[in-house]
Symmetry: C2
Subunit: 660 residues, 2 copies
């Protein structure tokens, strides 16, 4: 190996180890073992311009094993992405640019937030899918304006997670040839040797998925690593490169042991490692001058690479002005069309299920948002998530923009996150609402990253009917509503469904779930754009109401009808449709008070879901008509009656409360 | 094929198709295609006694593809498990024994609730693991009292789900040789051919996991199916039997198409199928007399099989009285030891993290509950979930009862559910609380099934510190609290941790999560068995309180200390420790009123989590000190201060509210 490479690799190792030591917290095992492959990839295998980490056509790098963050930060420092030695010294400290796990939008050069294992691999599959589709859309025989690789680095942990299996299988079907997964195989996890729980033949598994597979016997052999990466890039399939390493390499008392994984080495052990690896510099957080000079060359080459691409793009634009214009439009999250004032968009589509309403709105959205890209986990005919004027994506037809994700809800979500961070596309996914359970860990990541991923979630209550309790969401609204920076939107009819879609398209830093009914719902008088406020008065009495009636989705009809019956009984009700608590909470205190005056304490909420959370709006004096347990298997109409979701019950509860 | 077998198979087909037709809802595709393998397995490959579906040593059968429930119900009818033709006619109707998906504890002979895909496979792995451990524990060279197989039947859908991959990989490592997975490979899912999303080589994948793999070319060839099942049973590895079938077999216009999957065939198509399969009986829901007679023989053989086992067990008990006694004790959920009155169990263990407290309690529990069996998803040193006096389970050492689940949170949970329904063992699992996200779909199934699975969930808040927001739970308490029939228990010190464990052990129809701190917490005066009520007065003022202070876990210390400061300011506070909302809700109205009098509206809740749900207890007039977004990466102490979790802030909020 080139001595300069060796020196740079050891620089990464000790920057990482010392950052962890200073923080007295972190994971040195991976950085020490994986530094050679990471350095080699970044220095020689990747196209990047550290001066512009946002360059569209850069190669992507995902540290799926996010606990190895110190290595990533050391790379970002060495390769000139702007992280300073001071930042490394502030590793894992409050408000630093170097938090415990890599955070997207927080640290320049971090392509996606990782830490929860396995998801980075699925993110990477999503990125490679985005690249493939964009390349098919924008490249011409003369100009390859979209032409980059996606690399992910994972450990034994990521490969045990089911989400990685799901995504890898789909990557194989899709033939995502520009995806390269570096597998840091150190055969150690927290509980010890992988022999205790992970003896499978990973290479054979990936071959079964339709990947090409390579192995590097010695993870310190940078030359072979490079040659193998180049082979992996050249194949026409996604490629796995298994690199055999030693966790905590260099630290004589810890290498190869679980104890190297997740705690600082200790100052003494770092000293021993330095001796061991012939690191002769006394100063901590030290970068040798010759390494700096070497990196400067690499950085300069990166600038040249982007400059050349910019030149090419200019020529491309001159010859293909329409495509260049589209390219620019696709690379912004701004909505190009004024849907807010588009009458057709807000049209009442009749008494149909909100999943059917969503299907109609989706067709309009697909026209307004040409880079919309997504699909379902094998439920498209049921959750009505197909863009009918578009084709399906496949290996043979990468220009298609409907996606068959297969029965892989979690990978679907994590892939959508990868598509979103990649840029250029507006991803959506679709499933049955109850299977938000399978997606939850991915939904959380998109909330944390602030990605505008759209989830079409149908079959939203006991309205599922005969499929029974395994398929009937109960606690799922609470699950999504309680998550920070997430918008759950459960519309009551077609116009509110349009409001949900409008929200989803315009909230560019927040994901949205559209929670939709299986069963038909009536179009109600007065619904519409007010739904964008999350909750609004759908029908009101004269003067101060005796009771506030609140509901979302399919139960709005009940409170709407209860209004008249209560009026006959002399009770003045206010009907509040509440499709999104999250949006309502964003409104001004004045607006909130205008909808739900503090003085009116008699309040009844109705929702065919757990009552959990509703007391924020009904208080200690109100009542909630809700599900007290799981659902049941029977025709939906019967279930609504059996579980008390009737106009009569709403009237009775309200009447009793008012007269208490 | 034997004509009788053919007739029985077609009986299953038409019972299923007609049940679905009558319900006008259901999934005929799988029953028509998989009837031959299901019949063959039940009639000739499985050990069962339909007259006693609870016989410990029966072979287990899991219909992982739970949407094929009509097939399972038809089997249960034909094989004499008590389901009647009337039950089949009531398929998917309210209060029937034949709900949309198979439900454990609801229909005799259903071994586990299925429907959410993939989980049934993991359940089956859990069952096979339980069998292996119990066999190692109880069998003697002379007597194999535990000696049964676990079979699962899955489709293309289950095999795409990550949870199945996780469980299959672990089954390979564990060498669970008595597990046989029948793969109904019909190459059709809802969105069409599996070619669109699932082209992997499933057999090669399972070989990579360490399974033996077999294939039956023609899924209607019952003789070959039987021969192959017998081979699969005989190997010393888990075995996959891929059986190539046609979805909707026999229905001429639907077979081999996605349209056969999830909707009734239609009366006309059923008629055509009958002609096609030479089914000559005009009557609907018909079981030919010769089939009845044939089944009677099989049922009688089942009775004999159990009788022989009972004989053997008697002899076993005579020669091994201690083992027989233990066997009986292990097969009950009753707690054999009076932990409630065991002083040592309730002992104050000092100012330690509740994860450390749990580790201490776990050692006591492991002595009191010899059939406790469980482990962690590769975090045992961190979540402190090892039974120190016990060995680890492995292929070589199946008597071990600590389990290395690997980095597979979802499969861990679904396997625990399989262990629980198997019987004989008390399963627990352990992980970081934030990764309850990965487990959610399995946690919901244990709630739905009413299984007393225990989840040790540590690192329960921003107290995680440096690992940052990816690892800091925020909305997870709401996620668990909102789920029906689930107990979330977040203790504030060592004695409350004992209360959590006691709850977990004594709630035999409800799962429990112990939500535990990473950081040290002080042992507080007055904690103890009152925590079993979910919420209780830890410290009180004289007379009516001015303010109710409520908290759980690590925040109880804050309200405890705020009490004195408030007292100095002339504010009378009541300190309510609230480890479990779920348990508190079970208490009498009187008790609840005694703890939180309706008249006292000034209430402050403190919890380092989302405020979601707390308004049930603080109402419209109270305040919640909670997390308003995600956490951050920094030392935990700093984070608590930064996010407002201080005694000063509690005092200020309470003082302001009282004086409003």
């Amino acid at each position: 190996m080139n001595p300069m490479d060796q020196l740079a690799i050891n620089t990464l190792r000790f920057l990482s180890a010392e950052a962890i030591q200073k923080a007295n917290s972190g994971h040195p095992g991976l950085p020490l073992g994986a530094a050679p492959m990471a350095y080699t990839l970044w220095a020689k295998g990747m196209k990047m311009n550290p001066k512009n980490p946002a360059w569209d056509d850069r190669d992507r790098f995902v540290l799926s094993a996010g606990h190895g963050s110190a290595l990533l930060y050391s790379l970002l420092h060495l390769f000139g992405f702007g992280l300073t030695i001071e930042d490394l010294k502030n590793f894992r400290q409050r408000n630093s640019l170097t938090p415990g796990h890599p955070e997207y939008k927080h640290t320049l050069g971090v392509e996606t937030t990782t830490g929860p294992l396995g998801q980075g691999i699925a993110n990477a599959v999503g990125m490679a899918l985005a690249e493939s589709h964009l390349a098919a859309k924008f490249n011409t025989p003369e100009f390859k304006v979209v032409d980059h690789y996606t690399f992910a680095l994972c450990g034994d942990g990521c490969l045990q997670e089911g989400v990685a299996s799901e995504a890898a299988s789909l990557a194989g079907t899709m033939g995502l040839s520009k995806l390269v997964l570096l597998y840091d195989c150190n055969k150690i996890t927290i509980e010890g040797s992988t022999d205790v729980a992970f003896t499978e033949d990973v290479k054979a598994r990936f071959i079964a998925y339709g990947w090409d597979v390579f192995e590097v016997v010695d993870g310190n052999d940078a030359d072979t690593i490079l040659a193998t990466i180049e082979k992996a890039k050249a194949t026409d399939k996604p490629a796995l490169v298994k690199v055999n390493t030693q966790i905590g390499y260099g630290a004589p008392n810890k290498q190869g042991k679980a104890s190297a994984h997740g705690e600082p080495l200790g100052a003494d052990e770092i000293g021993l490692a330095k001796g061991n690896l012939s690191w002769t510099y006394a100063e901590e957080f030290f970068v040798p001058e010759e390494v700096k000079a070497h990196m400067a060359e690499i950085i300069a080459n990166g600038e040249k690479a982007e400059a050349a691409w910019n030149e090419m793009f200019k020529a491309y634009g001159e010859k293909n002005p329409e495509l260049a214009k589209e390219y620019a439009a696709w690379h912004t999250d701004e909505l190009a069309v004024d849907l807010l004032n588009d009458e057709d968009f807000w049209k009442n589509e009749g008494d149909i299920a909100t999943r059917a309403a969503s299907e109609k709105v989706l067709q309009k959205v697909a026209k307004a948002v040409p880079n919309l890209f997504g699909g379902s986990a094998d439920l498209a005919p049921s959750n009505k998530s197909v863009m009918k004027d578009r084709e399906y994506y496949s290996k043979e037809n990468p220009t298609g923009s409907n996606v068959h994700f297969g029965i892989r809800e979690f990978a679907m979500t994590a892939m959508a996150n990868g598509i979103a961070v990649h840029g250029g596309l507006r991803p959506y996914v679709a499933g049955f609402f109850v299977f938000a359970d399978y997606m939850k860990a991915g939904l959380r990541m998109e909330s944390l990253m602030g990605l505008p991923v759209i989830s079409i979630m149908t079959h939203d209550s006991i309205g599922v009917g005969e499929d029974g309790p395994t398929h009937q969401p109960i606690e799922h609204l609470a699950m999504l509503r309680s998550m920070p920076n997430y918008i759950a939107f459960r519309p009551c009819d077609t116009r509110e469904t349009a409001a949900g879609w409008y929200t989803a398209l315009t909230k560019t830093n927040t994901p949205t779930a559209l929670i939709l009914s299986r069963q038909n719902l009536p179009a109600l008088e007065g619904t519409g754009k007010d739904a964008l406020k999350g909750a609004y008065i759908l029908k009101d009495c004269v003067g101060t109401p005796d009771v506030l009636l609140m509901a979302s989705g399919s139960e709005v009809e009940l409170i709407y009808k209860a209004y008249d019956v209560l009026a006959e009984k002399g009770v003045k009700a206010r009907v509040i449709s509440m499709p999104s608590w999250d949006l309502f909470e964003e409104q001004s205190a004045e607006y909130k008070e205008s909808v739900m005056p503090k003085a009116v304490r008699t309040r009844v909420a109705v929702e065919a879901a757990a009552d959990f959370g509703w007391h924020k709006y009904v208080g200690l004096d109100g009542a909630v008509i809700a599900m007290e347990g799981f659902g049941a298997s029977a025709p939906a109409g019967l279930l609504f009656k059996d579980f008390g979701f009737t106009v009569e019950n709403v009237v009775e509860k309200a009447f009793t409360l008012v007269n208490k």
